[in-house]
C-alpha cells in the first residue's frame, strides 16, 4: 500500500478537484463581466480603427454581427462590427484571434467598406514575451499595417520593409510578428468574399 502512488497522492488529487471546482465557479460568475469589459473596449476602439486616430472622437454607429465562415469543413465564427457614420458605411472592424508565440493573440482589424485597405490594427489581448513579443501592441509597430492594400498577402521581413505588402519584424520577436501577420492574412482571406459586396 505504501508504494501505491495514487494513494500517496490522495491529498493532491482531492485538492485538485476542489480547486478546479472553485475556479470553475469563479469563472462562471465573473466571465459575463469580463466579456462585457472586452466588448466595451472593442466598441470604444471602433472609431479610431475605421476613421484613423485623428478622428477617434467622432460619433459612429456600430452594428455588431457574427459571421460564420466554412473552412476546412469546420465553421469559424467572426465577430464583425459595421461602423456607420451619417448613414453611410465607414468601414468594418473585425475581431479575430490566432496562435502567437506565448498564447492566443486577439486582434481588432479595421478595414475599409469594400475590404480593399486596412484602416487600423489594435491588439486586444496578448501574452507574448514582455519586452520583446509584447511590442506587437506598440502603436508604432501596429501603424505599419495602416493603409496596406489587401490584394496581396502581408509578409514579415527582417531587413527593412520595401515592397508595399511588407511588414518590418520586431527585433527578437519574429515569431510574434509573423503570428500577427498570419492572423491578419487569414482573417482577410476568410472574410473578403463575405463582406466586400455587402454594402
Amino acid at each position: 500500500m505504501k508504494n501505491n502512488y495514487i494513494l500517496q497522492a490522495w491529498l493532491v488529487l482531492l485538492l485538485a478537484v476542489f480547486y478546479g471546482g472553485s475556479l470553475a465557479g469563479v469563472q462562471l460568475s465573473l466571465s459575463p463581466k469580463i466579456n462585457e469589459n472586452k466588448i466595451n473596449e472593442t466598441r470604444q476602439r471602433v472609431p479610431a480603427l475605421v476613421l484613423g486616430k485623428d478622428r477617434a472622437n467622432e460619433p459612429v454607429e456600430i452594428e455588431s454581427e457574427n459571421i460564420a465562415v466554412e473552412k476546412n469543413g469546420r465553421k469559424v465564427f467572426y465577430n464583425v462590427f459595421k461602423a456607420v457614420q451619417d448613414g453611410k458605411q465607414a468601414g468594418w472592424v473585425i475581431k479575430t484571434s490566432g496562435q502567437g508565440y506565448g498564447d492566443k493573440i486577439e486582434l481588432l482589424l479595421g478595414v475599409s467598406p469594400d475590404m480593399s485597405i486596412i484602416t487600423g490594427l489594435f491588439v486586444l489581448d496578448q501574452k507574448e514575451t514582455p519586452g520583446l513579443g509584447n511590442r506587437i501592441a506598440d502603436p508604432a509597430w501596429r501603424q505599419q499595417f495602416v493603409h496596406k492594400k489587401t490584394d496581396k498577402k502581408l509578409v514579415v521581413v527582417k531587413t527593412g520593409a520595401k515592397a508595399p505588402n511588407e511588414i518590418d519584424a520586431i527585433t527578437g520577436a519574429t515569431i510574434s510578428s509573423r503570428s500577427v501577420c498570419a492572423i491578419v492574412n487569414n482573417t482577410l482571406s476568410d472574410l473578403k468574399p463575405k463582406l466586400a459586396g455587402v454594402n
Binding site: L11, Y19, V26
Partner: protein
C-alpha cells in the same frame, strides 16, 4: 518548539528585518517589472497579499497531513488557484489595471516569496503564525515595491499616483520609467538599505 518565532515576531520580521525585496531579494521579477508607477505596484502588492495570505492559511491548515515529498506540488497547486482567482477578479473589476499588469499577475504563481513562506513558515507553524507571517511579508513587499515605484514615478513622470508633484519645468527622466530605471533605483535603494544595516551592526558590535 520554544525557539520558533511567535506570530508577532513573524509579522515584524517580514516588514524590515526580513524584507522580501531588500533583505531576502525574492520576487524580483515583479519588483523590476511593475514598478513604473505607484498604482500598478500597489495593485501587485495587493494581489500578492491576497495570494500569500490564502496560500499560507491553507497550507498551515493541512500541514499535518502533508506528505513531505509531495509538498511542493500542493504549494504550487494552492498558489496557482488563488492567483487565477485574482487574475479573473482584476479582469472583471479593474480591467485597465489588469491589462497594464498583463502577464505579471499570472506570474505570481512562480513568485518565490510565496513558496518560500509556505515552506519556511506555513508548513511548520499554526494558522495564526502563518497569517501573521503572510501579512508581515506582504507589507514588506509593498514597502519594497512602493519605494521603488515612487522614486521611478516621481523622476520618470514628475507625478505620484497620477498627480503632478514636481513643477512642470521638470524634464521627465524617461529612462526611469523604462527597464534600466528599475535596475538603477533598485540598486541604489538596496545599497542605501545595506549601508544603514551595516552601520547599525557596527554600532551594536562596538557597544
Amino acid at each position: 518548539m520554544s525557539n520558533e518565532p511567535t506570530p508577532l515576531e513573524r509579522f515584524i520580521q517580514g516588514i524590515i528585518p526580513e524584507n522580501p525585496t531588500y533583505r531576502q531579494m525574492l520576487g524580483l521579477c515583479p519588483t523590476l517589472a511593475v514598478t513604473g508607477n505607484l498604482k500598478s505596484a500597489m495593485t501587485m502588492a495587493g494581489a500578492v497579499l491576497f495570494v500569500l495570505f490564502c496560500a499560507n492559511v491553507i497550507v498551515s491548515l493541512i500541514r499535518n497531513i502533508l506528505k513531505p515529498h509531495l509538498r511542493i506540488v500542493i504549494f504550487t497547486l494552492t498558489i496557482a488557484t488563488f492567483v487565477t482567482i485574482v487574475d479573473r477578479f482584476l479582469a472583471a473589476y479593474m480591467y485597465s489595471m489588469s491589462k497594464a499588469l498583463g502577464p505579471y499577475i499570472p506570474l505570481i504563481i512562480v513568485n518565490c516569496i510565496i513558496i518560500c513562506r509556505c515552506e519556511v513558515c506555513a508548513s511548520k507553524q499554526s494558522v495564526i503564525h502563518a497569517g501573521a507571517d503572510a501579512i508581515g511579508q506582504s507589507i514588506g513587499f509593498a514597502l519594497g515595491l512602493g519605494s521603488i515605484a515612487a522614486v521611478r514615478e516621481i523622476l520618470g513622470a514628475g507625478s505620484l499616483l497620477g498627480f503632478h508633484v514636481l513643477p512642470s519645468c521638470w524634464p521627465n527622466w524617461v529612462i526611469m520609467a523604462l527597464p534600466p530605471g528599475a535596475f538603477f533605483t533598485f540598486g541604489l535603494l538596496m545599497g542605501t538599505v545595506n549601508w544603514f544595516v551595516s552601520k547599525k551592526e557596527k554600532k551594536q558590535n562596538n557597544a
